[in-house]
Amino acid sequence: MTYFVLAFGGAFVLVPLLWMISTSLKGRDQLYVYPPQWIPSPVRWENYVEVWTTLPFARFFLNSLFITILATVAEVASVAVVAYGFARFNFRGRHFLFMLMLSTMMLPSVIGMIPTFLIWRELGRLDTFTPLTAPAWFAWGPASVFMLRQFLLSVPRDFEDAAVLDGAGPLQMLRHVVLPMVRPALLVIALLAFQGNWTNFMAPLLYLNTPDKFPVTLGLKFLETSLGPGSEAPMWNLMMVVSLLVALPILVLYALAQRAFIEGIRLGGTKG
C-alpha cells in the first residue's frame, strides 16, 4: 500500500520529466503521434546540436554563466564577511540591525522594484549586466547570512584566540581560520546563490533589452515567440531541449554538492 502511494506520487513527478526528455528527442512530425510515443523512432539527437548551432543559445548560455559566476562569488564573499560581523563582534545596535535584516525577508521584492529600476536608470546602467552582478557585493540574501551566522556561533573561539596570539588580523582570521571550519555551510550558500542567479527571470527582464545580452531564462522566453506556442507551428521539441539545458547545470551542481556535503561532514571542522 505504502509503495503503491509512493509510486503514484513518483509517477506524477517522473512522467512529466520523462515526457520532456522524450519530446526533446523527437522530430516535429512525431510530436502529436497517437498513442503517445515514449521512445521516439528515430531518436533525433540532432536536436541538441541544432540548438547550439542555429539558435543564439550559446550566447544566452555564456551570458548566464558570466552573470551567475560574478554574482555568486560576490554574494558568498560578502555574506561571509557580514555573517562574521554579526556572529563575533559585540557592538551596540547589533541586535537591532540583525532583526532589521531578517525582517527584510518578509518584504515582497515588488515594493522596491520601481525605484531600484530608476536608480539604475540614473546611473546610466540600464541594458548592462551591472545591476545583475555588482549589487551582489552587498550581501544579497538575508537567509544566507542568518544560516552562516548560526554556523559561526557554533564554532568554538579557541582557534581564533590562538590565531590572535599569532598576530593574525581579522580578515586573515576569517579566511584562514574561521571559514575553513564552516566549509559545508559555505558550499550550501554558494549553491543557493548560483541557483538563485541562474534561474532569476524578473531582474534580467527589467534591466536587459538587447536579445544578445539575454541570459538563458530570458532567452527561453525569446525563443518561445519564434519556436514555441507564440509561433505558427510550435517547435515543442526544440523548446524542450532548451528547457532541459537550462535545468541541467543546476541538476549537475546538486548531484556534485551531494557528494561534497558528505565529504565535508566527514572531514569535519576540527581540522583548524
Binding site: V13, L17, W19, S78, F91, I119, A134, V216, P234
Partner: protein
C-alpha cells in the same frame, strides 16, 4: 568585436563596487576608532557594512521612494506630479486590479493547502521504514530544482490542447461526457492549470522540511500512545499534528508568501484574455509596459498590505493550533506545576509521560495480563 565591451564594462563596475566598498569599510573603521570606540565595535560595524550599505541603497530608499511615488502620477519622462490619494481611489474601481487580486488569492487558497497536504503525505510515507528512502527523496526533490522558466515551458506543453495530459485523460473526459479542457487557453480552466503546475514544483522542498520535522518527534510519544490503545488515526491526530505544527506553520507562511508572489511562470504562460492575471504580473505590466510608475507603486503598496495582513492573520491564529514543546518545559512549566500537560497535547494518560521521562517502564506489571 564590440560585444566584449559589455562584459568588460560589467567587470569594471563590479571591481569598482568592491574597491569603493573596501575604501568605505576602511574609512568607517578609522572613523569609529578616531571617535574613541572600542576595536570590537569598530570591527563589528565594519564587517556588517556591506549589508548596511545595500540595505540603505536598495531596500530602505526604494521602500520610501515607492511610498512617495504611490501618491504621484509619474511616467518617467516628466517629473512626478503629486495627486494625493487619486491612485488608490482608482485602484478600488479598477476591475482588472480586483480581478487580479481575486485570482491571486484563489490561486494561493488552492495551491498552498493542497501542496502542503501532498508533501505531508509524502513525508509521512518516507518516514516509515521503507526500502530506498534515499531514492524516493531524491526523486521527489527533482522538480524543486528545475528552474521556474523550464517548468513553465514544460507544463505549457503538457497542458496544451493536444498535449499529454489531455491525451492520457481522454477516456475520463469521454466517460464524463465533457469536452477536452483547453487549460491555459480557456479562462475557466486557467486557475486549475496553474494549481496543477504548482503542485508539481512544490513537493520537493516542503517534503524534505516536513520529513526533518517528523524525525524530531520523540518515539516515546508514539509508544505511549500505542500503549494506551490509540489507533493510527488518533496517533496522527494527537501526536503527529501537534508536534509537527511548528514546521507546518513555517511551511504555510513561506508557501503563502511565495504563492502570492507568483510571477515567472505566470509571465511565461500568456493567457488569452488579458484581464485574468496574477497581481505581480499586472503591476509589472502597468509599471514597465505602460509606464504608469505612480499607479503601479500604489498597487505594489496595496499588495504589500494584503501580504502583511494575511501573514499577520496566520501568525495571530497560531496560538490556536501551533504547539511548542518548549512552552511546557522551563519556566512555564515550573509555574504550572510539575504535572502540567502540554497545551492540547493530550496523551491519553497524563501521568505516563512523566513516568517515561523518569525512565520507568511504560507498562507496569498490572497491565500485563
Amino acid at each position: 568585436m564590440a560585444v566584449w565591451s559589455w562584459y568588460v564594462d560589467a567587470l569594471r563596475d563590479y571591481a569598482a563596487t568592491v574597491i569603493l566598498l573596501g575604501i568605505l569599510m576602511l574609512l568607517v573603521y578609522a572613523g569609529l576608532r578616531a571617535l574613541g570606540r572600542s576595536r570590537e565595535t569598530a570591527l563589528g560595524f565594519t564587517f556588517v557594512l556591506p549589508w548596511l550599505v545595500g540595505f540603505l541603497a536598495f531596500q530602505l530608499f526604494p521602500f520610501v521612494a515607492s511610498l512617495y511615488l504611490a501618491f504621484t502620477d509619474y511616467d518617467v519622462l516628466s517629473p512626478p506630479r503629486w495627486v494625493g490619494l487619486e491612485n488608490f481611489a482608482r485602484l478600488l474601481g479598477d476591475p482588472k486590479f480586483l480581478a487580479s487580486l481575486k485570482f491571486t488569492a484563489l490561486y494561493a487558497l488552492f495551491s498552498v493547502p493542497l501542496g502542503i497536504a501532498g508533501s505531508l503525505a509524502c513525508a509521512l510515507l518516507l518516514n516509515r521504514d521503507i526500502k530506498g528512502v534515499g531514492f524516493w527523496r531524491t526523486l521527489y526533490y527533482v522538480p524543486a530544482v528545475i528552474p521556474a522558466v523550464a517548468t513553465a515551458v514544460l507544463w505549457r506543453w503538457l497542458l496544451s490542447t493536444d498535449g499529454l495530459v489531455n491525451t492520457v485523460l481522454a477516456p475520463v473526459y469521454a466517460l464524463l461526457g465533457m469536452e477536452k479542457p483547453r487549460w491555459f487557453l480557456d479562462p475557466e480552466t486557467i486557475l486549475p492549470g496553474f494549481v496543477i503546475m504548482s503542485l508539481w514544483g512544490v513537493f520537493g522542498a516542503n517534503t524534505v522540511i516536513l520529513l526533518a520535522g517528523l524525525k524530531n518527534i520523540p518515539r516515546e510519544l508514539y509508544d505511549a500512545a500505542e500503549v494506551d490503545g490509540a489507533s493510527g488515526w488518533a496517533r496522527f491526530r494527537h501526536v503527529t499534528v501537534p508536534m509537527l505544527s511548528p514546521t507546518l506553520f513555517y511551511v504555510l507562511v513561506t508557501g503563502l508568501i511565495g504563492a502570492l508572489q507568483m510571477f515567472t511562470q505566470a509571465f511565461f504562460i500568456e493567457t488569452p484574455r488579458s484581464t485574468v492575471t496574477f497581481l505581480q504580473v499586472y503591476i509589472y505590466q502597468e509599471a514597465f509596459g505602460l509606464r504608469h510608475m505612480g499607479y503601479a507603486s500604489a498597487m505594489a503598496w496595496v499588495f504589500l498590505l494584503v501580504i502583511l495582513a494575511l501573514t499577520l492573520l496566520v501568525f495571530r491564529s497560531s496560538p490556536l493550533w501551533v504547539y511548542y514543546e518548549s512552552e511546557v518545559r522551563g519556566e512555564d512549566r515550573a509555574a504550572r506545576g510539575p504535572q502540567a500537560p502540554g497545551r492540547r497535547l493530550d496523551l491519553f494518560r497524563p501521568g505516563l509521560r512523566r513516568r517515561l521521562r523518569a525512565g520507568a517502564p511504560a507498562v507496569d506489571d498490572q497491565h500485563v495480563a
